[in-house]
Symmetry: C2
Subunit: 292 residues, 2 copies
């Protein structure tokens, strides 16, 4: 199938590589063109603009940093939406506000194409290993076409959250919030244990082999236990943006979220300190505030 | 082996039954004597006082509600500590302050016996199914004697947290706090999703089959998704006491714990409302505060 992939950050590059390896005919675009070189070597065509990338594509994936970048990709100068073929599908993978995908979906419909929100869960390693968890929401026919293509990217089938594309983004925001809550909880627990005379590492090992024997606790918990937040899977600024979207959604729908406010503030402090760490590095605020 | 079991609540009764089924010679004691009847039918001897229960016992288990109850059981009128044989071991399973077990361990040492802190993780169903997770801390020789006996109660071997009995209680407090954090996180996420137009049940099912595919998320999450907090595994007042101990420990060691403060307040509100619900029912405060 002719597929375009727009946005070749850590996540996008890994996903595009898997699509290419699955035998799809891939055209890629990235704002910083040099990032397309590895995919070009693997056989992808590199386009000079978003509009050029989607020529003849049945499916266009996008994976960019935020709402503004997605909007620009679609409807900015050389944006791809006017160039997208009738009946073509835009698989919108970025973590953006639910309303952004809803509005863009309406614009796609006016152009005769479809936007399906397809946010993904997982670190870049999970993307590379085709072990992402995927969700999707949007037009029914478009989801049917998309389903087998998405299977190349993740473990299991993409979970369908119905016709409202925003619903998939709500799930994505809930998920990132819940990951943040797990990180803050481990940070508080490990710090309390350490100041009570225990070894952080032993506490980590106990919980992640018993009650919290789960990849997300193991992977983020290791960073928290060791207080060494490398490698950078996602920068604090990226996930702070996600938590801001959580709080925006909570304000719109009038939902008090005390945990989400705390995580957002921890991420804000981490962004302000300009540390080059994974977003889980916000756990360090808990240790610091306890004088460690 | 001759074993005494003191405290036959939901947890204690299930654990005592498993010790009996493993072939140990069991003497039991409970403040409300009628609760001992099922164990008596299974072959246990019922003692009239704590002191009488531990006569000739090599190991005495205790599983009571709080620090005061444990202290009374040991050193109150008819308390068992003076009656415990030289070299006998008290396996102290209750969730109490680390310092309570430390102080009691010193008293045991003065009497020539040992206190090993052996708190357990799991609901009454897990206790009945011998699927508790166990930790232990205290005298090395006493732990060696205790280890095979504890294996009858749980899955896997008890994790050893060293010679300081308080360390095992720190771990227990950290675990209950982390469970509370998972419940609050799900409550906020499910409530946000519901008010954004999604079904709580579908959100629950997605997360507990993907990122949070873990028994504790599944079991507590089901209550949160359905907003029906039955059966009562542990009453809100019991776990509020545990969170109070977490905050006491955090104050002693000067550890700011913003999540723990929130969970404690949610539990306080739930206790104040006198609802007959499982402790996870504090999640209902999140839904209520969002007008659901």
């Amino acid at each position: 199938m002719k597929i375009a992939f727009l946005g070749l950050g850590n996540m996008g590059e890994a996903m595009a590589t898997n699509l290419l390896n699955a035998g799809h005919e891939l055209t890629v675009y990235n704002r910083t063109a040099s990032k397309a070189a590895p995919l070009e070597k693997l056989g992808a065509t590199v386009a000079a603009t978003p509009a050029q990338a989607v020529q003849d594509a049945a499916i266009a994936f996008s994976m960019v940093t935020d709402d503004a970048a997605l909007q620009a990709l679609c409807t900015g100068p050389y944006g791809f939406l006017p160039a997208l073929a009738q009946g073509a599908i835009h698989a919108s993978c970025s973590t953006v506000a639910p309303d952004t995908n809803r509005r863009l979906a309406e614009e796609h419909a006016r152009h005769g194409s479809h936007l399906v929100a397809t946010p993904v869960f997982g670190k870049p390693e999970a993307a590379a290993a085709a072990k992402l968890w995927l969700v999707m929401a949007g037009d029914e026919g478009a989801k049917q076409t998309l389903r087998p293509v998405l299977e190349v990217l993740g473990q299991g089938s993409a979970q369908d959250f119905g016709p409202d594309p925003g619903a998939a983004n709500v799930i994505k925001l809930c998920g990132n919030f819940m990951l943040g809550a797990a990180i803050q909880a481990m940070a508080e627990a490990f710090t309390l244990a350490q100041k009570s005379g225990l070894e952080r590492q032993q506490v980590y090992e106990f919980f992640t082999t018993t009650l919290f024997n789960l990849p997300v606790y193991k992977s983020y918990g290791k960073l928290v236990a060791e207080r060494h937040y490398q490698p950078v899977g996602a920068a604090p600024a990226i996930i702070r943006k996600d938590l801001r979207l959580v709080l925006d959604e909570a304000r719109t729908h009038v939902v008090p979220m005390p945990f989400a406010n705390i995580i957002f503030d921890q991420l804000s402090a981490t962004v302000a300190k300009k540390e080059d760490v994974d977003w889980a590095g916000f756990a360090e605020r808990v240790a610091e505030n306890a004088g460690l």
